[in-house]
């Protein structure tokens, strides 16, 4: 207001707190309105009611539980306990509106065949939303968030390179049964030079310009009795999904970090070392951990990530 004195109150009519600032600035000591006091009493009443209804006071090692209860399902049985937020969360996840709706959608989408599911934009939208979470829970520990994998450890699910086949049905089979991938190490059967020759041959299949003599020798080993690599990887090194043997000619490297190598010498050394050691990898089976609907949704999700066939 434009005046610094309240004209409705004459000086002396109202007390001040006695403090004076800046020579004339004083603070009125007006009494609080009575309704404000009622407001305070109302909060006291609220607190008393709350203490009776909800967990409130610590008593020794325990606490007052309150009269309010909550009912939810635990291990198939109905449990009634004193009201608490954990049980509330459990109940929300069981019978909350959104949770029920999500389960309905999951059942609906889980009952579709892949041909319908993969072509349905609305179903795929749900797959993306739902499976992202499920993937984070069950798959991302190895395959990483988003399915990018780790070279040398866990397969990349975003590219079009499939060890065990990339149709939705094959992906489902992998999820249901799990997989064990195995390549023997050539510790005794190939010496250092032979390992390098095989390595040169494999690299040449991926567009790297290698020494022709080494490539020829490596090809002999790969496709001959000495290495026998063709038995799994095929004569054209295109891989064999039934064995989980990868295609070695598409310049996609899941196990040997060829893209990270600085020069040909290092590339050869890395591939040779890998052939020498061999590898065994294991993907666990999820049949007993996930419902068929969840497996279907996850399979469709993985199929959609990169190059599903």
């Amino acid at each position: 207001m434009s005046t610094n004195e309240n004209p409705s109150k004459k000086p002396g009519q109202v007390e001040t707190t006695g403090h004076v600032w800046d020579s004339n600035l004083q603070e009125y000591n007006n009494p609080l309105p009575r309704w404000w006091l009622w407001g305070f009493y109302a909060t006291v009443v609220f607190a008393l009611v709350y203490w009776v209804l909800y967990p409130a006071w610590p008593v020794g090692g325990s606490f007052t539980k309150g009269l309010n209860t909550i009912t939810f399902m635990q291990d198939g049985e109905e449990v009634t306990t004193h009201w608490n937020t954990r049980s509330l969360f459990a109940r929300e996840m069981q019978s909350g509106k959104q949770a029920v709706r999500q389960r309905e959608m999951l059942e609906q989408v889980g009952a579709m065949d892949y041909e319908t599911l993969l072509a349905d934009v609305e179903a795929m939208s749900f797959v993306n939303a739902y499976a992202k979470g499920a993937f984070g829970t069950w798959c991302a520990a190895c395959h990483q968030t988003g399915g990018g994998g780790v070279i040398g450890q866990y397969p990349n699910l975003r590219d079009d390179h499939w060890l065990w086949g990339g149709t939705a049905e094959q992906i489902e089979e992998t999820l249901v049964l799990g997989r064990i991938g195995y390549m023997p190490g050539y510790r005794e059967s190939l010496d250092g030079q032979q390992l390098e020759q095989v390595a040169s041959y494999v690299l040449s299949l991926n567009g790297f310009a290698m020494n022709d003599v080494d490539v020829a020798a490596g090809g002999e080993i790969f496709n001959g009795y000495l290495g026998g690599c063709y038995q799994c990887h095929g004569v054209d090194a295109a891989g064999l999904a039934s064995l989980g043997a990868p295609n070695l000619s598409n310049n996609i490297w899941g196990l040997v970090d060829v893209p990270g190598a600085a020069n040909d010498e290092e590339r050869v050394a890395r591939v040779a070392r890998f052939v020498h050691q061999g590898v065994q990898r294991h993907m666990p089976a999820f049949a007993d951990r996930l419902s068929p609907a969840e497996i279907r949704v996850l399979s469709a999700y993985v199929h959609s990530l990169g190059g599903g066939q």
């Binding site: 004209p7 006695g18 404000w36 993306n128 590219d159």
Partner: protein
């Protein structure tokens, strides 16, 4: 400070709490009362009738104004507002704030006096009170009366009428959030949503408490707008003010008795025009005396102007002893309305208003957002190309279905892969997310990122093709 200082003694002498002094405003007739009543009728008409207004739409509810929270859509006549349009709310709030500053800077607490819900509802409550209990003297008598049958009946009827208005207000508010006829039926048959009962109940309670019981205390103690409107004042702001110089003269005010009956006689002995009838104090809904000058309690309802004008008319003296004026004008100078502050607020209001309107008018029919998947950012494919993934979120904001086709543009040789999804048909208001992949064989020496665009077209050509910029990453 020592314990026996006079200050401490004085603190002890004062009660900690003060009961409300009851205010029994007298009714008044006049042009400001008519203006206020007109605004009141209009506001009540809009508030209570708007939910019942039907509206024809291709799809969606037939209610003109409906805030559909579960479906996350607000229907305002032909406009449908989606959650993505939330920034319009920011624009609306900015306009409200700037307009308040602008109006307050020029004409003071216009909002408080004429438009505020508290003022409007209190007015209605006072009207009911007067119809049941009578005019001010009758109400004072009744409040001092012992609790006999008359008092119980009259006060009971008053509070009952207040509760009815409060309930009508609560129910009226709830009708904006669901189909009005259905909700009213469900409400009284016990089938409406819990939120409807809770909201209606809460509003009944607050309306009854604020307009019936708390009244001017809401403005004086609770309302923040009252406080910062006071800060917007300056010496040129229009205020409801008593002309102190005219009213008091040199010898103060005086009742029109004996030789003080004519204006000439009063002026000769220096007595001002105020006949000290107290009518301006009696009509004040906040119980202040406007003759004490500008006060924080004053909501600028202008009823004291009507009261004083009526008295001046009766005396045959010129009106305007209490009037809209400014501190500058009271000092005999000219009020200046065109100032940097007022012009600035006015311009700012217009600019924000213009931006909001143009934003509403130019909203695309299809809301589309492209977000590049960043984990992993890119992946190398078997044929040597690089693949990026995108999530394209689509929301059909039209009232008809859209048959969409997504293309990639702006990057020669980039191939779009939507998997097996071919038909993207969006019903009105439908949202969906399309998973898209783009493959591109980069020529050597390409930069690590390349711009590209997604073009979204309606196969039936009902909307302009929409182009959304994004990028393709080749390396980290």
């Amino acid at each position: 400070m020592t314990g026996d200082s006079p200050v401490n003694e004085r603190i002890m002498s004062q009660p900690m709490y003060e009961a409300r002094v009851p205010i029994h405003p007298r009714s008044v007739a006049g042009r400001f009362r008519n203006l206020k009543s007109g605004i009141l009728v209009l506001a009540y008409g809009v508030f209570f009738l708007l939910p019942w207004l039907r509206w024809e739409r291709e799809t969606g509810p037939s209610q003109a104004v409906l805030f559909d929270i579960p479906a996350r859509q607000f229907y305002l006549f032909d406009l449908v507002v989606y959650p993505q349009d939330i920034f319009w709310l920011a624009g609306l709030l900015m306009i409200a704030a700037l307009l308040l500053f602008f109006v307050t800077g020029i004409a003071g607490r216009v909002f408080c006096g004429y438009f505020c819900f508290q003022t409007l509802w209190t007015d209605v409550y006072m009207f009911l009170e007067r119809r049941i209990q009578g005019e001010r003297p009758a109400r004072i008598r009744l409040s001092n009366q012992s609790w006999d049958t008359e008092k119980v009946l009259k006060l009971g009827a008053t509070h009952l009428s207040w509760l009815l208005v409060a309930f009508a207000t609560g129910l009226g508010f709830v009708l904006y959030w669901a189909d009005a006829p259905t909700l009213v039926r469900d409400f009284f048959t016990g089938q409406a949503a819990g939120a409807a009962y809770i909201t209606a109940g809460l509003l009944t309670l607050t309306t009854y408490t604020f307009a019936g019981l708390a009244r001017e205390q809401v403005c004086t103690y609770m309302c923040p707008y009252a406080r910062f409107q006071s800060v917007m004042f300056d010496r040129d702001t229009l205020i409801v003010s008593y002309d102190h110089a005219r009213g008091e003269g040199a010898a103060g005010r005086g009742k029109p008795v004996r030789d003080l009956r004519t204006r000439d006689a009063r002026q000769q002995i220096g007595v001002g025009d105020c006949i000290d009838c107290g009518y301006c104090v009696q009509v004040c809904p906040t119980g202040i005396d406007i003759r004490n000058g500008l006060q924080i309690e004053c909501i600028h309802c202008a009823l004291c102007i009507d009261a004083c004008d009526a008295i001046m008319d009766k005396q045959g003296w010129p009106r305007g002893l209490i009037r809209y004026t400014s501190e500058t004008a009271l000092e005999g100078k000219k009020t200046r309305f065109l100032k940097l502050k007022t012009v600035g607020y006015g311009l700012a209001t217009l600019v924000v208003g213009g931006l909001l309107v143009s934003s509403i008018l130019t909203r695309p029919a299809l809301d589309a957002n492209v977000s590049q998947v960043r984990q992993p950012l890119f992946v190398q494919m078997g044929d040597g190309s690089t693949q990026n993934s995108y999530e394209i979120a689509l929301n059909n904001k039209t009232q008809h279905s859209l048959d969409l086709e997504i293309r990639v543009a702006g990057l020669e040789g980039a191939v779009l892969d939507l998997g097996r999804v071919e038909d993207i048909i969006l019903e009105p208001s439908q949202r969906t997310t399309v998973l898209a992949r783009v493959r591109y064989t980069a020529p050597p020496e390409s930069p690590s990122r390349l711009p590209l665009e997604f073009e979204i077209v309606d196969r039936e050509g009902s909307m302009e093709p929409l182009r959304i910029g994004s990028q393709l990453s080749l390396r980290p």
